[in-house]
Symmetry: C2
Subunit: 337 residues, 2 copies
């Protein structure tokens, strides 16, 4: 049911019964490496193209999610996924190989929580017993498509972000053991006029703030109701802006731990990742790999994951358009089990 | 609830209370011209780029849908849409201007029924009272992105299809007057190995057949239960293949009117559209403009619209990949009103 204006309330408490996370070497060199199901030593995964490598990441993450859920692949009734590549080819090919009914979604780097919210909605409403959400990104496919091929060696400003190489998938079920999805707030497009694709954190920060404040208004919750609120990939620049915007509006974000997946996945000081991580996989692998493990260990009880997306295309940028941004938030709690 | 394996059953019978359809000059010269809300005389809609023209089509179709529904824009709780352009920019910018919570979806030319199915699901489950689905395509943006800019004047084989310039939107509501959505069958990816982007009808036909047969299995319905079953954009080549596949499998499609939106929107003999229409807008404007009017006039009582999508990207084609295809079916009936 709807609570407030934009929040889906999941009264039947769908459960995340299994996740899969697969990452590349840079993410494997970061502080969360131990939390992922598989770390690849090679960026190309021994594939002939970056695109085939990205697809393999998602195929592996899906396989891990289903295996960790303890179910058979043919028990998953719907697969919901998307990625950054034009026409979502990583997901279309993965869905083909999975052989499951498929709903392609696009929210750029907000795809992780967009697909999880939809999977939870299907399960909560009784339309599915098992639904899987998944997403992926690869540093070299994203750079090639949105900016320059990495082989070209172009320099980037410090406000730029580093696309995560990885994939994350989650199986949502009507019952079972695992963290519970209690609600999701679907975002609006916010576009304050930023057109610099090397500063996406600044472009996305107002969308994250809008969705989080809407979430509080819709649910009556406050920052203190969460042990942790994480945005998807605002990174250094965007996170600072979000903190400032909350302070301006008097939202007591100091009552919770407010962080960003793009800041958590790398050692920002030591690794050469400019302002921090980005890409569809950033919030997916941090949430499904790291944060859910912390929930299961009892270190966290209730979190809000707010995945952020910059919905630009190279063409819209070249034509002088500003960057439309969006954020979708999903609240996840420790299950009773 | 789920019926069979892939079919969402909408027991609360969500209603299409208003639609909007806007097309370009070629569609205005076709046999269905009188059924559209607006026909533009100029392909560029007096915009500076083809992309801005495409976006304007969708903005106008959305405005018509909301106006024809007799509600205010701010009553629409969620907008679900997608298009063919990389990163769905037509929809992202339209969603920005609409100011509504937005779920971006991609199913290539199956986006029309994919978004309508999701809107119906939200309304049926009580998560929304009003949800809007929308999609659009433009001949010149699609040709430029997937093949060659139209200004280049490249020749095309007779199996090629002609992307519809247009946009369609539908407001789905929990109650009201209009045609009723009773169920939707979500498709799987079917890929029989065709890699020729100038023969998408042949590539998509098996996906359409798979979804339609699954729909019959899931619901216990037969072709005779529908006054009309239309695919999205198989056009001449794909439609013939679909007819052959049904005959091979002994499905009595002769018991219904089996047609294709890509064959209906143009006068195939007279207009220079190769095998027929395609593009996200093809099934959207034919269904929302023409077919729903026939339902409301009582000429049809129950129809199945099976939108078909070829999920290739120029990059996947250049890398020698085959074309993954999908089809989503939505059953629509005359309302009681």
């Amino acid at each position: 049911m709807l609570r407030g204006k934009q929040t889906w309330w999941f009264e039947n408490r769908p459960v995340i019964i299994g996740t899969g996370t697969v990452v590349g070497p840079d993410e494997g060199a970061g502080p969360l490496a131990a939390d992922f199901d598989l770390v690849h030593a090679e960026l190309d995964l021994n594939q002939k193209s970056w695109e085939k490598a990205e697809r393999l990441l998602l195929e592996q993450a899906s396989d891990f999610a289903i295996k960790n859920a303890g179910i058979r692949k043919d028990q998953v009734q719907f697969y919901i996924g998307g990625d950054l590549l034009n026409q979502l080819i990583s997901n279309s090919f993965t869905a083909r190989d999975l052989g499951l009914p498929y709903i392609g979604v696009f929210g750029a780097c907000s795809t992780s929580m967009q697909s999880l919210a939809l999977a939870a909605h299907l399960v909560n409403s009784g339309t599915a017993e098992y639904a899987m959400a998944g997403t992926c990104s690869h540093n070299c496919t994203a750079e090639k498509q949105f900016r320059y091929p990495t082989e070209y060696g172009s320099q980037k400003p410090p406000t730029a972000q580093y696309t995560v190489t990885g994939a994350g998938a989650a199986v949502v079920a009507a019952s079972g053991s695992g963290p519970v999805i209690t609600c999701a707030t679907i975002g609006k497009i916010i576009d304050l006029g930023i057109s610099d694709p090397f500063n996406m954190g600044a472009a996305m920060a107002p969308a994250a703030v809008d969705t989080i404040q809407t979430h509080f208004n819709d649910t009556g919750r406050m920052p203190a109701d969460y042990d942790m609120i994480v945005t998807g990939d605002l990174a250094t620049v965007g996170h600072r802006i979000a903190v400032d915007l909350f302070a301006r509006d008097g939202v007591p974000m100091q009552d919770t731990v407010f962080s960003d997946c793009g800041l958590m996945i790398y050692d920002i000081e030591r690794q050469k990742v400019q302002a921090g991580g980005s890409g569809c996989a950033c919030s997916a692998v941090v949430a499904y790999g790291h944060l859910l493990k912390r929930l299961q260990r009892g270190e966290l009880k209730r979190i809000l994951v707010v995945a952020t997306g910059a919905l630009l295309s190279p063409l819209s940028y070249q034509q002088g358009e500003t960057i439309p941004c969006i954020a979708h938030a999903v609240a996840i709690e420790r299950g009773d089990a």
